[in-house]
């Protein structure tokens, strides 16, 4: 259906645009930049910061460009004297209730308010400072996220993120007037409320009010300690995100440069979470097939289907809080990060002749929830904390900058061995649908002896940014030992972003779904859009990162997890077989019910 179009003028230039769009959209079409703070392409309109006000001929007030729909014949001016004065005032007001300690602020140089202050040449003392008298405290009790109300500008991007993208609403606006602020239930610390640590609030915060808890100094310390052997693992989505934080563009693949940089930072061994992602497929694929057998052949009613993935710690905490009755449906596999960690201090240490207590394991993750995951008491199966420090993509970039490297000029280098090899199936873990696709590539081949029936192994139905995806794969001409799966149509579903996870889980709960296998990632786009990835983020940027992930997959020699030579070797030398005794000990875990509210 054709949409109505509206004609208007912006700064005397005519523009035609769809009805229902905003003045901001129309200005963007003409390449006029209107500053924004509360506006975010991921979120619904708020119109509360008022920094995007524009002048409209005939109107007494200055409408907010982000919140005002275009209308026929409108005449808009985006840079009149009135507009500039109003914007300057708005920025000055925000600064007056903002703790301006820019030089020591974690977001220094990355703060949207700071950028506007520079743009409008704000002098700090136009209005009285209000922040001192408010008595704000900093909540740094969570292992993942720090909330500092004194830096908050009340744009409510975090609130809308937590509600719309994640369906959690751990953060809300409380009080009114001069006491209005963003808080949790009863203003409790973040770690004690229903928060998944996903960090989407962090990656949508324009200032330093919500940031990840950083472990940069701790990691420098262990690197600099000659008595320690520091191994680092890099998650799939870091290699397609890191460049953005280091002056490259969204979608630039920097795997080789990243490895080189990590080596120069002084890590003793640069290894890959992708190795343990392949391992995860072996374990999780086998678990799925085992569950299917128990359910379909043995009619064992204690076996729960659909089975869901367990790689995303935000998702795990979500289901522990919100759908604890489905915890038995979650794969018992640890996430690739934690599998790696458990092996680093056992298998790896053994092979390298190191004492486990001298091995420090660091992971680079696109995620803030991974910091929490590493801290879980269950994650000490090696006898030590399996993963000692978790850095986000952003923190790694900060270290690279601190080290004075010209990142874009680095020559590509390869991962170390052992636990450095991976396949394309592991790389795509970084995208929504990737775990599903990787699992299907391997499981289908185990069962039938043939490759998945999709062109060039690309299982297109599970890919893309659609919130909830479904796919069915018919299993035919199976190997004799998998006879019970002959003719079975494997029913799969994928959700990313916890609001979509909720949709999917409610469907399961209502008995409206016949899925066998569900992949859920807490963040929109999957890990490539994780709470620890570079900012800004939008679907446009997520799509570019996603394209890069699939390019990386196609560029690799091996694209199926079971083809990973190091994975084959570790089963032969150490683990035995998938779901074997050793696997259970090191690679699997349990979950616990948490309070719903």
């Amino acid at each position: 259906m054709g949409k109505f179009e509206v004609n208007l003028k912006i700064n005397d230039l005519p523009v035609t645009i769809e009805e229902g769009t905003t003045i901001l959209d129309a200005a963007q079409k003409l390449n006029f930049r209107i500053p924004t703070l509360c506006h975010h392409p991921d979120l619904c309109v708020a119109g509360n910061c008022r920094v995007c006000v524009v002048e409209q001929t005939g109107a007494k007030t200055l409408p907010a460009a982000c919140a005002t729909p275009v209308a026929e014949g409108m005449e808009i001016f985006t840079n009149s004297a009135k507009v500039r004065q109003a914007r300057k005032h708005v920025v000055e007001l925000l600064l007056s209730e903002h703790k301006s300690e820019c030089t020591s602020c974690y977001k220094n140089g990355k703060c949207e308010l700071q950028e506007l202050a520079i743009e409008y040449r704000i002098s700090e003392d136009t209005f009285l400072k209000l922040v001192e008298e408010k008595g704000y405290t900093i909540d740094d009790l969570s292992p993942a996220i720090i909330k500092d109300d004194s830096k908050c500008i009340r744009c409510q991007r975090c609130v809308r993120t937590c509600t719309q993208i994640q369906s959690i609403s751990a953060l809300a606006v409380i009080n009114k007037g001069d006491e209005q602020k963003i808080a949790t239930f009863l203003d409790k610390p973040m770690h004690s409320v229903v928060c998944t640590n996903c960090g989407q609030c962090v990656s949508h915060c324009p200032t330093g009010a919500l940031v990840e808890k950083n472990y940069i100094d701790q990691v420098w310390d262990v690197i600099n300690d000659p008595n320690l052997h520091v191994v680092v693992q890099t998650a799939p989505a870091v290699r397609i995100g890191l460049g953005e934080e280091l002056e490259l563009s969204p979608g630039d693949r920097v795997t080789g440069k990243m490895v080189a940089a990590l080596r120069r930072l002084g890590f003793n061994s640069v290894l890959d979470t992708d190795f343990s992602a392949d391992l995860t497929i072996m374990e999780e694929g086998t678990e799925l097939l085992t569950r299917l057998k128990k359910a379909l052949v043995d009619k064992d009613e204690s076996v729960k289907l659909p089975m869901t993935t367990s790689c995303s710690p935000g998702w795990i905490k979500f289901i522990e809080h919100k759908y604890p009755e489905y915890l038995d449906n979650v794969s018992t596999c640890k996430s690739p990060q934690q599998m790696f960690g458990a092996l680093a201090k056992t298998f790896y240490a053994e092979k390298k002749g190191l004492k486990a207590e001298k091995v420090v394991s660091v992971s680079i993750m696109p995620c803030t929830a991974k910091k929490y995951e590493a801290d879980r008491p269950e994650m000490r199966d090696s006898g030590y904390k399996d993963v000692d420090y978790v850095l986000t993509t952003r923190e790694l970039a900060a270290m690279v900058r601190q080290a004075g490297m010209d990142f874009s000029a680095l020559e590509n280098e390869n991962y170390d061995s052992i636990m450095g090899k991976s396949t394309g199936a592991a790389v795509i873990f970084g995208s929504t649908g990737g775990v599903m696709e990787a699992a299907l590539r391997t499981a289908y081949e185990i069962v039938t002896g043939r490759e998945v029936p999709f062109e060039n192994l690309n299982i297109m139905p599970v890919r893309g940014l659609k919130g909830v995806k479904e796919a069915k794969v018919k299993i035919e001409n199976v190997k004799p030992e998998w006879g019970f799966l002959e003719g079975v149509e494997l029913s799969c579903a994928i959700a990313h972003g916890l609001a979509n996870a909720k949709i999917l889980m409610d469907k399961v709960k209502a008995g409206e779904a016949d899925y066998h296998f569900i992949e859920i990632m807490a963040c929109p786009g999957g890990c490539l859009g994780g709470g620890g990835q570079p900012m800004p983020v939008s679907d446009k940027i997520r799509q570019k990162r996603m394209d890069a992930i699939y390019q990386e997959d196609e560029s690799l020699e091996f694209r199926k997890s079971h083809e990973n030579a190091e994975v084959q070797a570790i089963y032969k030398e150490f683990l035995g077989e998938p779901l074997g005794h050793k696997s259970h000990e090191l690679l699997h875990t349990t979950y616990k019910k948490r309070k719903k509210y």
Binding site: A67, V90, L93
Partner: protein, 388 residues
Amino acid sequence: MDAKKLNKVDLIFDQEGCNALEVLDKALECTPDDIINDMIDSGLKGRGGAGFPTGLKWKFTRAEDDPVKYVICNADEGEPGTFKDREILDKVPAKVFTGMAIAAHAIGAKKGFIYVRAEYRFMRKTLQKQVDEFNQILKDKGHDFHIELRWGSGAYVCGEESALFESMEGKRGEPRNKPPYPTKNGYLNKPTVINNVETLVYATMIFRMGPSEFNKLGTADSCGSKVFSVSGDTNNPGIYELEMGLHVNDFVDEFGDGDTKAVQIGGAAGFCVPRKNFNNLVIGFEGIPTGGSMMLFNSTRSMYNVLHDYLEFFTEESCGNCTPCRVGCQQLLKGIEAVKSGGKSPSYLDDLKSLAKTMRTSSKCGLGQSVANPFISIIDNFKEEIIY
């Protein structure tokens, strides 16, 4: 200017001359278009303060093609100095309900709500009983319209229509972005007519007396009469219905205590008129508009204290959503404190006035936009009382 002399009128509280239920019977026989045309012809503008033509509001809502529409009576009277809606609901509730039923008939609504501020909860039992009785009458007449009561919980900003909808929807009473307007997206996003208590009574009266009789009163811009809440330094505080369009001077002659130095017209969000302007300003939409609050100050009063009270009020009652209002109110308040104490020089008042103008143009809703009214009018006229 064809200003009117002070003329006390008795339409709103008149009990004998108007049987609300007879008016209702008559109205229900008319077509919606006739009702709306009468309302437009009467020239009635909203009596809550904003002054949007009531007939047009009804017309726009009627034009919306939606089977579900609402009529809401805004009884969240919270403007300091205003207390007439309470009195109206107390004395002539049937006229309010009738106005709602007429509006409902005109726009095609089956459900109406009265949103009353929490401070008036002492009326709860009586009002509920009266609503129930009225609903029964409507039911008996076979008229498909039903009124329910909703209560506020102490938030001035909920008098702003879209904030009121949010509150009724169980949310924080934060005003919405506009457009869209309530006539299209009101309560639960449905087309909604929302009128002030007094406006609805005038709707009832216009229907009884005819639009031409009504607009014989008042001026071209300000038709009819209006209920004023008179308080402050006056010997006769209370509620008075006066013909619209009178001079401030005539008002002060009637209600002043002989020493009036300023009148605050329109409540905390209104304008301060100093003695020197009493003669040349008219109370009405062509001059100083008001939702009815008329507060008089004599020469013993400090206008610094008056302004300080207002700013403290706005600082607390701002919803906090938009920057200009949330932070601007605090800056104006702290700002005059600093000037008064000598911490800031008198020229800082110019910076604050400029800020107030930004609040007027850039705030999201009428609350933030109107803080500049008292601020600028008091600073301009009583600067010497503000500075150190």
